[in-house]
């Protein structure tokens, strides 16, 4: 084929860029030295050959264009203006401007800890830890209050950071936290050994999948402290390269990582966001949203721009919102306005990260939703938005509802909104806790006679003795007898429930706990040991029946326990219950997408 070796490269590139058909500026045939009647195919071949040959000759010959190689620091702009208030402008790090790292005032740090975004709260907790390391301040009132706040804080989203902070505290709380850490270390070591056996071919059971839900949540809560081998194994499951774990379990593992902040997981999660579809993408996006890493935002934004699945888009919008990018706000608003049942919970969750006071009315609409999970989420979202206009509505709802979980969420929300208003410099909301407090139900009926009280306690103590001797059936008989002697006495029933729960006989523990809750719910809800045993019994029983394929029963159990005030239950148990509820709810709606 004839072509002109001295053709002007710029002209050829112009022809290639603008097309050889109808190019007004250059005649490609003439430039290439082709015949005037040469067909386009011949011209095209000659053109790309010359341009490509010239390109190849130049490789490695030109000096570096320093402008082209400069740090790509330009981050995508946010779609809407950021919240201009103190809290809206408060960054999590940095030595200049408004930054949590620069706050010295303990009450302000505590307010940020109650009212800030997840990243702000995490940074505030870190700042608090720094301040508490200064032993000279330990005996001041402000520090005592800070210690009390750390002790009482039950924020599931900050589980790892709270555990670290508590481990540094003096006294019982610190000892207990360090003891829990030792327990976690043993669990991590066991898991590491099992993982090595799995990859060596000595075991065909995937170790993390085999853990009970709360143990798995506990293990993954401290993902950033896990050894490399465990994190690599988790990454293999996330990416679907373990060769064993089925899709549902893969989704389950990713959702268990929801509050993990380990950067080592980022590449695997980004790989899922890039290459998978549906629920896998949504779950991975939720995890990525809370990890501080430069790789996260470009991956989320790119996927958001090309995704067309509603579920994915809402989750991606939420994750982008966590990073201050509000491009998905309109879409989330539309989902709420259109009241799409399958997306409602997700959209309300997303609004936690995207919403502003303009969205308060929209969110408040769902406070009266018939489904407890949605109403509770609406309360949480209203708390994150922190608009004082919703305080009256929340108070009214608190007094009207009989669902303990909703009441608990409203109490937390009222504190959070008050703290947010304080940080914004608005008039501090004075909440009349006597109006919204958890009012004990007045007992009705006749008082027990003295003999029934005495014999009741006698039977109860005998039951405890039989328990110590390991005679569970005899002990239960005594507890039942004690409960029968007095009306409205929950203590023996709690004893039965605890006895079965310790022996992992959850099916037998549940009826006793249910009867005890009916008689004296607050006694269980306010006692961390009781509420933990009760919540774990429900969770483990739900796992048992789920394994037997009775998803409806499992859904009922998880739904039942989630109506209670579980604030004093361990964060890992609460997290796992909520996760399981979410999964079972979506299965009920038939909304689990194939990730093929």
């Amino acid at each position: 084929m004839a072509h002109n070796p001295e053709a002007d490269l710029d002209t050829l590139e112009l022809c290639l860029r603008q097309g050889i058909a109808g190019n007004d500026y250059a005649d490609p045939r003439e430039e290439l030295g082709c015949r005037a009647d040469a067909d386009d195919r011949e011209v095209a071949r000659a053109l790309v050959r010359l341009v490509a040959a010239s390109d190849l000759e130049q490789i490695g010959t030109q000096s570096i264009n320093s402008e082209a190689a400069r740090h790509p620091s330009v981050r995508p702009p946010t779609a809407v203006a950021a919240d201009p208030s103190f809290l809206g402008r408060l960054s999590t790090s940095g030595a200049e401007g408004l930054s949590v790292e620069r706050i010295d005032d303990l009450p302000t740090i505590l307010a940020v800890l109650r009212a800030g975004s997840r990243r702000q709260r995490r940074a505030a907790l870190e700042r608090l830890r720094e301040r508490l390391r200064d032993r000279r301040l330990l005996h001041t009132d402000a520090v005592r209050k800070a210690i009390q706040t750390i002790t009482e804080l039950r924020d599931v989203e900050l589980g790892h950071e709270l555990a670290q902070a508590r481990a540094e505290l003096p006294g019982t709380q610190g000892r207990q936290a360090r003891h829990e850490h030792e327990h976690w270390k043993r669990l991590a070591q066991r898991t590491e050994g099992a993982i090595r056996a799995f990859w060596d071919g000595q075991s065909n059971a995937e170790p993390i999948q085999g853990l009970p839900g709360d143990q798995r949540a506990l293990l993954l809560m401290r993902a950033s402290e896990l050894p490399d081998v465990v994190v690599h194994h988790i990454s293999a499951i996330i990416e679907g390269n373990d060769g064993w774990v089925p899709l549902e379990s893969r989704i389950g593992l990713i959702s268990s990582l929801r509050y993990a902040t380990d950067r080592r997981l980022v590449p695997a999660l980004i790989s899922v966001v890039e290459a998978e579809r549906g629920e896998l993408v949504a779950r991975a996006a939720r995890v990525l949203g809370s990890i501080d890493d430069a790789r996260v935002h470009p991956a989320l934004a790119e996927r958001f721009e090309r995704s067309f699945v509603n579920e994915e888009r809402i989750a991606l919008a939420s994750a982008l919102g966590m990073r201050g990018d509000c491009r998905g706000l309109t879409e989330v608003r539309s989902s709420l306005e259109e009241d799409q049942p399958q997306l409602l919970l997700m959209a309300l969750e997303a609004m936690e990260n995207l919403g502003s006071s303009e969205n308060t009315g929209l969110v408040a609409k769902f406070l009266d939703h018939a489904e407890v999970a949605i109403a509770t989420q609406a309360v949480r979202t209203a708390a994150r938005i922190g608009d004082g206009r919703v305080l009256d509505e929340l108070t009214a709802k608190h007094n009207a509802t009989s669902v303990p979980a909703l009441r608990a969420a409203i109490e937390d929300a009222l504190s959070s909104i008050a703290a947010r208003m304080e940080l914004r410099g608005e008039e501090a909301a004075t909440i009349d806790w006597s109006e919204v407090g958890n009012k004990p139900v007045s007992r009705k009926g006749a008082r027990d006679s003295l003999p029934s009280i005495v014999f009741g306690w006698r039977d109860y103590f005998l039951g405890r003795v039989w328990l110590l001797l390991g005679r569970v059936n005899w002990a239960n008989a005594r507890f039942e007898s004690a409960a029968g002697r007095r009306s409205d006495w929950a203590v023996p029933l709690i004893g039965i429930g605890m006895a079965f729960a310790r022996r992992e006989q959850y099916a037998l523990a549940l009826p006793a706990f249910r009867r005890a809750i009916e008689l004296d719910r607050t006694r269980i809800e306010r006692n961390p040991i009781l509420v933990r045993a009760m919540a774990k019994s429900f969770l483990h029983r739900a796992e048992q029946v789920e394994r037997e394929g009775r998803d409806d029963v499992a859904r009922g159990l998880v739904g039942e326990v989630l109506t209670l005030d579980l604030r004093r239950a361990p964060g890992t148990v609460r997290f796992e219950l909520k996760r399981k509820h979410d999964v079972l709810r979506r299965e009920e709606q038939g909304d689990v997408h194939s990730a093929a």
Partner: protein, 415 residues
């Protein structure tokens, strides 16, 4: 009325009829609506492909010679208008099923023709307009239609790369990739095959029937996976590519896993003790099939030391290797390199230098998040002892898209 005006009026009438025809198909066809039609039309002995598409209720017509109202377009419009009359009186027939063609059923000349048509379609409309050109879409579809089914990985990757480069407007890379397709078309038409043409066909289409694939067998090797990524083919994210380095020779191989198919198991990074593997001759990095292996999800520190030892220290050699590789397989070569910089500069711009002063820098146009994270690590004071990444070139400068980095403190960080 002059001839031109008559022809315009006829074209307008035909367009109106064609729009109605396409709309009626969209409204009544239960199987789905017709959005685009492509027909090969011969006028005066010249065959052109005409694409008619309905976008936003407007009919767009273009022939593969780049004209929108040429004789081929008019003939196609007449055909549609005529088809309307014929179809109105005839009952609907069964849908024609498109069955995947095996490699043996594919006529080499059909694929060569389709590749030439694609090359011609892109150059006719120009790279700037190729992204939205119906003729280019149609030509791409034709390539996949006449290719063996399922689409061979090489051909799939070519399509993915071409679409990506057209989208990013990288003129020279588009030319390079199309030149590679043109070379394949020549190899398909060649009466006698040479070693080079056989190798090219194998790289694009897999092993040919009746030919012995050129395979190297590897035994008892220790390999470390240092990076992986999803690459697009005929669909987005259709191939997962893993980059494995042989700790003995320092050779880098790629293990390609198609979506929903199996390959060696394990996370990234991992250490593989490879009992047996096949390596194909072809574009860099060479493709490996790991047949027998043991996997360790953690890589011992000694192996990371070995990775650092086998890393390239001469960037001139890296550049020459890159150029040779791209010359041999312009469409399919995607070399991967492991470099150990002698020193680095990172004041606003990352430059890695070898002992002789040759430089390499980061590619910013791909894996943007990884580049940002790499810069963040540099800002934190990280001093890389080795960097692994895919090689590319921008403005005739060889660059590295980072995948992994190793430092004295931390043996491996995946980006």
């Amino acid at each position: 009325m002059c001839l031109d005006e008559r022809s315009k009026a006829m074209s307008t009438r035909l367009r109106d009829v064609a729009i109605q025809r396409l709309r009626s198909l969209g409204a009544t066809t239960a199987e789905g609506s017709v959005r685009r039609l492509t027909v090969d039309i011969e006028v005066d002995g010249r065959v052109e492909m005409v694409t008619l598409s309905l976008r936003d209720d407007e009919l767009q017509c273009v022939s593969s010679d780049g004209r929108i109202d040429g004789p081929h377009v008019l003939a196609a419009l007449r055909f549609i208008a005529g088809a309307e009359r014929r179809d109105e009186s005839s009952p609907p027939g069964p849908a024609v099923s498109i069955v995947g063609r095996s490699r043996e059923q594919v006529a080499p000349n059909d694929l060569a023709e389709a590749l030439d048509d694609l090359l011609t379609a892109v150059t006719r409309v120009g790279v700037d307009k190729a992204q939205y050109a119906p003729s280019v879409d149609a030509a791409l579809e034709r390539v996949t239609d006449v290719a063996p089914q399922p689409t061979p990985p090489g051909l799939g990757r070519f399509i993915g790369r071409l679409q990506h480069e057209i989208r990013s407007g990288e003129l020279r890379r588009v030319a390079r990739i199309l030149n590679g397709a043109s070379q394949l078309a020549e190899a398909l038409r060649a009466d006698e095959s040479t070693r080079e043409s056989e190798q090219r066909l194998a790289a694009w289409l897999g092993a040919q029937p009746g030919s012995m694939p050129e395979l190297e067998l590897l035994y008892d090797r220790t390999m470390i996976e240092i990076g992986r990524e999803w690459l697009s083919g005929t669909e987005r994210a259709s191939v997962e590519r893993r980059y494995l380095i042989d700790t003995r020779s320092g050779n880098i191989y790629r293990e390609d896993r198609r979506r929903n198919t199996a390959a060696s198991l394990g996370p990234c990074p991992r250490q593989l003790h490879v009992g047996l593997a096949e390596v194909e001759a072809g574009p860099a990095p060479q493709r490996i099939r790991v047949l027998q292996y043991e996997v360790r999800p953690d890589v011992p520190l000694g192996s990371w030391d070995r990775v650092q030892q086998v890393a390239s220290r001469n960037f001139a050699t890296v550049t020459d290797g890159y150029r040779e590789s791209v010359q041999a397989h312009p469409s399919l070569s995607e070399p991967f390199a492991l470099i150990a910089p002698y020193r680095i500069e990172s004041n606003g711009i990352f430059r890695a230098f070898d002992a002789e002063g040759h430089q390499l820098l980061l590619n910013r146009s791909e894996r943007r998040g990884a580049v940002l994270a790499f810069y963040d690590l540099l800002a934190e004071g990280m001093e890389p002892s080795w960097v692994a990444g895919r090689l590319t070139d921008t403005g005739a400068t060889v660059c590295l898209t980072p995948f992994a980095v190793g430092t004295r403190d931390r043996a491996y960080t995946r980006l």
